[in-house]
Amino acid sequence: MAHVRIIDLVAPALMGAFLLAAALATPARAQATDPVIAQARAAEQVGEQADGYLGIVPGAAVSADVRSHVDQINIRRRALYTRRAQQRSVSVNEMAAAVACEIFQSRIALGERYRDESGQWRQHSAAQAVTRPSFCPS
């Protein structure tokens, strides 16, 4: 019976190792940028806002699918901001603004639309760099 018990011990360990390997392998896929959003950004339909959330460019003919993805991402962003804000004893808006500063610093690609802190939609072009919100550290 002893060897059966050893197998009983080894099998879960092997299974655990397998699951760990699988878990380590999958995030790369799960963490990939949302292709629907990436396409909508490139099409100048969707852009980053100074409040830390995605927005839909006024007048853009976006599909229900894009709209739904924007909503889902914003809901999940808000959950992220809320959790981290509680950990740091700051407001959710402040946490969101801090993320917006990072996004506006380097993550708005050329040609993409973005909404500044006054609510105005702009476009990142070679001639015009992204205008960062005034609350961002210089």
Binding site: A30, Q31, A32, T33, D34, I73, R76, R77, L80, Y81, R84, R88, V90, S91, N93, E94, M95, A97, A98, V99, C101, E102, I103, R107, P133, F135, C136, P137
Partner: protein, 62 residues
């Protein structure tokens, strides 16, 4: 109601009661209550590392 408003209200009541002939000057501006809704830059500076961390850890959302 702010402390200042409460004090003013209290003094006004006392004046109305007629015990002390005190002239109360009404504030010429509404009393401002700072709800702290503005983004504080020093907080943003402090959160810079957290913000970068959130972006790195949640690439599917950004």
């Amino acid at each position: 109601m702010s402390v200042r408003a409460q004090v003013l209200a209290g003094l006004a009541t006392a004046a109305v009661a007629g015990c002390v002939p005190v002239q109360i000057q009404a504030p010429d501006r509404p009393i401002e209550i700072n709800l702290n809704v503005n983004i504080r830059q020093e907080v943003i500076v402090r959160l810079e590392h957290d913000a970068e961390d959130l972006l790195q850890q949640n690439r599917d959302l950004f």
